[in-house]
């Protein structure tokens, strides 16, 4: 039996560069399969996919850069792509060309060639769509005109991947330059952008003359579908139906899955862990820490997994199908006043179900600043967990107009989104200005299941490891403040609320609620619990009255008595103030953890502080006006 001699394998860093919607990520997913992760570009909130591509002769670190039309960047995402290309910290760039939009693809290739003297390969995607339109380029002629290896690549089937691997190895050993590109003449120069663009388009024109037939494109199914989906009479209802579908998926469908996970963790798993710890004679506090702290934290994180997976899948399907670009057109006017792309409508509407997947849905926006602004506005959309607070307070204090009051809270949430959006745009985000809508409409395609699956897997993994860690730590910290006794001589982990750190903190915070007529530790304790999850506010109130939470009428009686007392007999005004405060005082832990994952601590803290201050002042105003009336 002979042993094959070890072959020398090369390692290299390979960049994937291309226009948006060119099929770059499909190519990336095919080449790296599950060996990939999402990373932040250094110092930015722009994410990149990075993976390992193994070929018979090469182990490459493959980096999927954000799609861009140009190296003269207009957004943080484009800047990351431009900096990566011009920085030259890689061995080879694969420029992905869209056969149905060869002109603008070649423009970017020309810019890359002028900026980077290293090896380049052109990978042409969408050849099947180009053939259906009758505009497929002659690849031999294209390769001849470009002077670099030019491969037809189908990211879905993988056809062409072997040729690409071979071309990468050959090109790394024997690099060739793009014919006709002169860095001095064609390099993207922000000082003379139009002149550079014209020079480069002259080169593009020459390549196209050699490689693409000068015929008018045939109409395809996409054109016919757009004749329906982009019109006002059908486009807007279809858009609303799609958003409604996503909303339903992230509420009705996800809720049952979340409940199943939560029930499993809090039931059989918690019981089993308790039995094991009892068998080991663990002290009571350790059992409480393990079950009510750590396991509860794990359960919280896991309960979000199906919800996030559904949201990530919905975004991937909308993107992969080509429909997302149509959303930008149909909803353009509605979001333009906030300087946002029409696609921002999707996360903002999903936020009315749950803020956490809504933050994930900001991925539909192509520009990092727009994702950030939308992500900061999402917590103002009042999720269904807050609805329970409104319903309880409205039925208790304003029973004759409960429906109107709850409806008014939704209107208030929309007004807050608009007002905070305008404030942000005129303060910390002055750089966001409404841009002209000039957007490529990709052909409709059936979403590629493997690409969707890999995208969901990678993003859920990122959520669990990054946001999940924060959620877990926060839940354990919350357990600790509830379990540590301050007075009363109780044991750790077995403390009535009022004798715990939590109770003492609630007592000390309560006077701050005096101007809104709510100076009571039970109210402040419930609001603090609401930072963990808005669902637990009503339960925390019931718990503070030593109720089991199942008897709303009794809780209503207690609460009415408390708030009548704290508000000097203006309970309606105080209840309205509490509702307004609950609407936006702070996002829940999971939302803040996801904000931190996407935008970093600084923005999360800034947004939280602004929300807390704004809602505090607003609640005081509501109470004081209510009293005056």
């Amino acid at each position: 039996m002979s042993t094959a001699p070890p072959t020398s394998r090369r390692t290299a860093t390979v960049m994937l560069v291309g226009n948006p919607n060119v099929g770059k990520s499909t190519v990336f997913n095919h080449l790296t399969r599950a060996r990939q992760r999402v990373v932040n570009a250094p110092g930015t909130t722009v994410t990149l996919a990075q993976g390992t591509w193994t070929t018979p002769t090469l182990t490459a670190t493959l980096i999927d850069l954000p799609g861009t039309y140009s190296l003269i960047a207009r957004s943080p995402d484009e800047l990351v792509a431009a900096d990566a290309v011009t920085g030259g910290d890689y061995d080879l760039a694969v420029v992905v060309l869209d056969a149905t939009a060869l002109s603008r693809s070649l423009y970017l290739l020309g810019q890359v060639a002028a900026a980077h003297p290293g090896p380049l390969i052109a990978a042409v995607t969408m050849m099947d769509l180009a053939r259906s339109r009758g505009i497929a380029p002659d690849l031999d002629a294209l390769a001849q005109a470009l002077g670099i290896p030019t491969i037809a690549l189908n990211g879905r089937s993988g056809a062409g991947a072997d040729s690409l691997a071979q071309a990468v190895t050959t090109t790394l050993a024997h690099p060739t330059r793009v014919t006709g590109i002169d860095p001095a003449r064609h390099r993207a120069d922000p000082a003379h952008p139009l002149e550079c663009a014209e020079n480069l388009f002259d080169w593009v024109h020459g390549v196209l003359e050699a490689a693409q037939p000068p015929v008018a494109a045939r109409r395809t199914l996409t054109d016919h579908l757009d004749r329906i989906l982009l019109t006002p009479w059908a486009g807007i209802p279809v858009f609303l139906a799609v958003v409604w579908g996503v909303f339903q998926l992230t509420t009705s469908v996800a809720t049952s899955l979340m409940d199943a996970v939560t029930g499993f963790m809090a039931g059989p798993v918690a019981d089993a862990l308790t039995k094991v710890l009892t068998w080991l004679h663990a002290p009571q506090w350790l059992t409480s820490l393990s079950v009510d702290g750590a396991l509860s934290g794990v359960g919280t994180v896991l309960s979000f997994v199906p919800l996030m997976a559904i949201m990530f899948a919905a975004v991937a399907v909308l993107e992969g199908s080509g429909y997302l670009a149509r959303v930008a057109v149909v909803a353009d006017r509605a979001m333009r006043a906030l300087g946002l792309d029409g696609r921002a409508m999707l996360p903002l509407i999903v936020g009315f179900g749950c803020n956490v997947p809504a933050l994930a849905a900001t991925a539909v926006l192509p520009h990092a600043r727009q994702r950030l602004l939308t992500g900061l506005l999402v917590p103002l959309t009042t999720c269904t967990a807050r609805l329970a607070i409104y319903l309880m307070l409205a039925h208790t204090f304003i029973p004759d107009h409960a429906g109107t009051v709850v409806f008014a809270m939704y209107v208030a949430a929309i007004v807050l989104v608009i007002v905070w959006g305008l404030i942000a745009r005129h303060t910390v985000m002055r750089d966001i200005t409404p841009e002209p809508l000039v957007i490529a409409l990709p052909d409709y395609q059936l979403p590629h299941l493997r690409t969707v699956g890999l995208g969901v897997w990678t993003r859920v993994a990122s959520f669990v490891t990054k946001a999940g860690t924060v959620i877990m730590m926060a839940v354990v910290a919350l357990w600790a403040v509830q379990a540590i006794p301050v007075h009363g001589g109780h044991r750790l982990g077995d403390v009535p609320i009022e004798d715990s750190v939590y109770g003492v903190v609630s007592e000390s915070v309560a006077p701050a609620l005096e101007p809104m007529g709510l100076n009571n530790w039970r109210v402040s304790a419930a609001l603090i619990s609401g930072v963990a999850a808005k669902e637990v506010v009503i339960g925390a109130l019931a718990q503070s009255y030593a109720l089991d939470g199942s008897d709303d009428a009794t809780l209503s009686d207690h609460l009415r008595a408390t708030i009548t007392d704290t508000s000097n007999s203006h309970p309606t005004a105080a209840a309205l103030a509490l509702m307004v405060f609950s609407l936006s005082y702070l996002p829940c832990l999971a939302t803040m953890a996801e904000q931190r994952r996407l935008f970093g601590w600084r923005w999360t803290a800034l947004a939280g502080g602004a929300q807390l201050t704004g809602s505090y002042l607003l609640a005081i105003a509501v109470f004081q006006v209510g009293v005056a009336l």
Binding site: Y69, S70, A216, L230, P436, I439
Partner: protein
């Protein structure tokens, strides 16, 4: 004649773009430069123009489309 004055289905040629430097550059990068032939496919919701340039299709909002001069070839 402006792109916004064109009837859907017409094929025309771009003669100039009056937008500011940034918008002009982006339009050029998307293939909308003087001399290019385009076909106006439809007027979409909100007044955006859907045009075919080469094999690509673009959506251009109404106010930007109103800055693009075209002439029948």
């Amino acid at each position: 004649m402006l792109l916004t004055a064109l009837a859907p289905g017409s094929t025309t040629r771009i003669t100039g773009v009056r937008a500011g430097a940034d918008a002009s550059l982006r339009l050029r990068e998307m293939g909308m430069r003087a001399g290019t032939t385009l076909r106006l496919d439809m007027v979409a919701a909100g007044g955006a123009r859907i045009v075919a340039v080469g094999g690509a299709r673009l959506a251009i909002d109404h106010s930007t489309a109103a800055l693009i001069d075209v002439a029948m070839p």
